[in-house]
Symmetry: D2
Subunit: 373 residues, 4 copies
């Protein structure tokens, strides 16, 4: 391993790995440093939904970012397969967002023209048609908004494919290496202090998910982020009872390859505790079997949790540190880390090359304050 890099990326999750991939494509000499093992936290816990429109209620910078990122997947899938041999299991069969009450029905119906106006494909599927298409859905469901362009990938495969493709393009990876401070010269960050020694680079990018905030305190910075635990479980079935991801209030059900369904996700703020609570699992089970009654007979597989980084205003941080040259930040993707990973990697690569990027996500917006004067 070198001791000087063009770019050091701190954090080996899906975001850090995508940045490494995009930077190494542009010829940068990159080091990806991870304190444990690659993609063992939120990046592997994710259900892998690509839900750019699922929660779209009005035009917004986040929606436009998500739309761009979603559009990158088909080509990316081929590129990563080519470089790493790994199939990210991209499925583009759409999502259905169901209405269980009249209120939900009204709301969803009103979103259809709104999303269409924004240029997105979507349509309202009335009760009878929905039950004809998806006979496993409970009778109480009143209809659904169908979003043909959303889909899903295997989150662990995507993370691994980014990392291995980056390696194929020259990136170095160092696991079990905790970064605990920055090396500063004048107003510039020139590297990082790790438990395994100092490493130098022209640029340092912090992509540590929910753990970014703590490290950035060493750069006298208090990000406005907080961890949100999400609990999930999975079942095995002989054949999936649904053809598409079902998105409901408080629950989504994602059919994966090989007869698995992933059901997620609870939201519990302000904890780094990765254990799963009985009532988390129990609430998800109740919702899932209410929506698809025959899931009762599915085979229990396992439960798990991941810690996602949410921000004060709900937007990720993507940009340069307001004060320290050579330091950039990419975190706060909350429940959209998988979906936003391609565009995040691309934007951070642009930024390293000195180009302008979308400034809605800049770090110095109202959500940051300095720690020490």
């Amino acid at each position: 391993m070198n001791n000087h890099y063009d770019v050091i990326i701190v954090g080996g999750g899906v975001i850090g790995s995508s940045i490494a991939f995009h930077l190494s494509k542009r010829g940068k000499k990159v080091l990806l440093v991870e304190k444990n093992q690659l993609a063992t936290k939120a990046s592997s816990a994710a259900a892998g939904m690509l839900g750019a429109q699922t929660e779209l209620e009005k035009d917004s910078p986040l929606f436009r970012l998500a739309r761009k990122s979603r559009a990158m997947f088909p080509k990316l899938s081929e590129e990563l397969k080519e470089l790493s041999g790994i199939d990210i299991e991209l499925v583009q069969n759409g999502m259905i967002k169901i209405a269980e009450t009249d209120e939900e029905m009204s709301l969803l119906k009103s979103l259809v023209p709104l999303q269409q106006k924004l240029g997105e494909v979507t349509e309202w599927v009335p009760t009878d048609e929905l039950h004809a298409q998806e006979p496993a859905l409970s009778e109480h469901i009143k209809g659904a908004m169908y979003i043909p362009n959303d889909g899903n990938v295997s989150a662990p495969s995507l993370s691994k494919a980014f990392a291995l493709s980056a390696v194929a393009l020259g990136t170095d990876i160092q696991e079990y290496t905790e970064v605990y401070d920055f090396i500063k010269e004048k107003d510039r960050v020139v590297g990082v202090q790790t438990l395994a020694g100092s490493i130098y680079a022209d640029e340092t990018i912090v992509a540590g998910g929910a753990w970014s905030e703590q490290l950035l305190k060493q750069a006298d910075t208090q990000l406005n982020t907080y961890p949100v635990k999400g609990e999930c479980f999975s079942v095995r079935v002989k054949a999936s009872p649904i053809t598409r991801t079902v998105f409901a209030n408080g629950c989504y059900i994602v059919p994966k390859l090989g007869g698995r369904l992933v059901i997620g996700a609870t939201e519990r703020a302000n904890t780094f505790d990765e254990t799963v609570s009985l009532n988390g699992v129990s609430r998800l089970m109740e919702r899932a079997t209410k929506i698809i009654p025959e899931l009762e007979n599915a085979q229990w597989e396992k439960a798990w949790a991941g810690i996602r980084p949410q921000t004060g205003d709900g937007l990720p941080y993507l940009g340069r540190h307001p004060k320290w040259d050579g330091l950039s930040i990419a975190t706060g993707h909350y429940r959209n880390g998988i979906l936003l990973s391609p565009i995040t990697g691309w934007q951070m690569a642009e930024l390293v090359e000195g180009k302008e990027i979308d400034d809605h996500f800049r770090v110095e917006r109202n959500s940051i304050r300095e720690l020490r004067i």
Copy 2:
């Protein structure tokens, strides 16, 4: 390994291992043959309750057997620790059988004098007293029958301790060795055919749990047994909310060492499928959190299932084969395998030594029929 033994025991679960232990104590040269690994099926799936009185509603041979077996545990625990070093985690702090309805209360109250008449210690704990003793119990619980002499052990440790103690006393163990037939000479079984060759012995004992019935067809015998799947799950807590095992309608909650609680068990007849169904787990969760509401906050650990051998009349088979000399059977312990393992081992050892044993459990009672004339 020899090729001739005093006794071959087919089945390396808790029953087979106890028989091996008791026989080797008496100087017999024993071979314990197991088709997979020791104690990987029902013996490890068990919650380890020693509930001799829990379901006692009237005097019966099964109750008297259970009482004798329960009484063997304290001395056995020391003996196994001495021989194998393994602590079976015997806890003798009693059990409480709770009443959730007036009907259950009447029934339980009526059982108290009945059990006392049979010489057992038991008492009725009225509402207030119960909630004072066990404040974590839900308010709707109306009282409980307290059984001070029931308790629990670690089922996997008990199985392992029996097997290793038997080894310490001279038993040979052969894993990954499936027995598929008996070797017969005239009217006598003189050994077994295994996938690893023939093995000879003066006596052969089938202790294969739910899998015994199939093997015994090779001795032209149709046992009246059937498999019953039981599903369980476990949680972790900082400190147990209850001091004793709680036994309720459709659910028991067993505090184990190290901050674990085991919740069991569903009953699904006629399947060897060891998977866990969503509704099995979900039903147990609902019952457990209804009884102890704060379990909602407990940490999910895992779910599993075991296949237990039930019989037509609910009694185990313990005795000689009615027709083939040299062949005995010990199976059909259903949900009482852990509790009955000591007495079963002792009785089968008596039987091998030619002594009379309790004939309520003899194999040739109405529950067996011959396969071929």
Copy 3:
């Protein structure tokens, strides 16, 4: 589930799953019965090499079968991906069979023209060229035979993809269902006895790997097969030190996706014991690090073993039972189960449709004898 099928396949490994796939493509109503879970034995233990030429020393029926099967993979890979979504990770970058001694070099060199005469592509790579191509190989290696058309797949993914594709085409799968006998009518097998009851079919195919022999005793048949344990281990590396599978005397090293290398395999006959011995692992380690010294620094992952069915004359059994109508057999694939699975599935489907198949592998050749007159 029905109770009458066109075909029952006993054994849910890669062979049984391929047969199910090929039969359901032809419109047959198929049941695949497995006593444990699909593909948990030898099919998942395999390293996944497609070595049609690796051990080719002269023309033979087995070689011609292997060549046909290897040729099926590219199209099959796409078909299975389409039907099941699963990528079998087909890698067609060739294999190198190395010479470590002068004798090995002479032998390998002599095989080159021989294989070419049989229509196969192969070439001798001299010392310098080899070390230039594969600088991680130890200096003592004198050259290699390069076989561009051999490759590898993910064995677990292939098994799963066959099974799920079969399901997509209408196959029923029943796990945890042990078949212990056949249902016979006159000279015909009309179904199977399982622990979960009787199931009927026009045709029954036994594809139980090393466990087939035991079941076939119930059809008064003694196959000439025996189990051979193979032990393997795997390591993780940042980047594979070799670009192609390396095949050596007593050891092969297979680069898999995601920075894994699988090293196999020992051969220990006549045991069903799936444990791994210290000297098995240790011998493989020694060979592997002698061939690729830098493997010393690789990260240990895990060790495992599988039980493969070998036959008396080294050829698989593929054909009808010589005496019982309605019963066929597909087993004895030894170390070639993954490679031969496509052609085996195809041939057995032909056979069920009443067509002639290659009779070199017929069951009644000298390797079978009747059990009881």
Copy 4:
């Protein structure tokens, strides 16, 4: 949970848990904070040897500390069993330190009188006697020093028993809670900053093993410690080939309950990487099978690694921080963490109560330097 404690202990390994146990016995209100889960690092990786004399070559403060700690185990074992129900699997059958060369023999023989002079029981076992006692040892072994009073425990059970006994005595435990800074008032540490908020206490004790050094930088302190990885593996046997722990140059072989043997341990300095290297395992295997040839046939179980904290002068740090009141340190136990855990817990409890403790291990000895003036 409170927000003010008598003592906060940072680090939930065997050292932190012992301190919590000893402090809560004295009535202190204790919080044990752990960044991941209790005892998942070096404390569980340890083989559990209690080798006070194994490496004793002359009188030293470390030896006297080890001797005191070893003497605490018998009573402690009963106390922990009583409080937590957990059996720490204390085995006091001694250790044999073998000589494989004449030089080793001379050295060991010379240590016998030396150790006896220090009041320890030890004796030289000549070749013939040794091989009569331990027939599985290789013939090349020339004799051994027998140390009857050394023994071993289950390291994971000991850690768990300390923690659960502490909880039984009132300790609070908070897992998944990383401490990243201290809260200071004037010259005093009054609590810790965690990712889950601030917590206050009269006294803070850092017992974070190899990770202590990094945290203490926040107290402007540079401990002279470094991490040393140790790799181990375990095998399963039907019956242990040795009756006592065998200690050799570069390798020890520890018989554990239940037919397991643990073989350890390599030493690789200056890494936090917990992966196991091929050559680490391979070297240990070679040593172990050279010493006990029949281990070749043992069943491979698994390999693992732990990161132990070594110090510049080889002595642990046990004492108050030289400058910050309210802050103490207990780390640097290297390979003696299990053995020294009882005495460390006891001494730190003394220290919190204001008593003098052994000052050979004080923090301000030459091995510490201040970070910033």
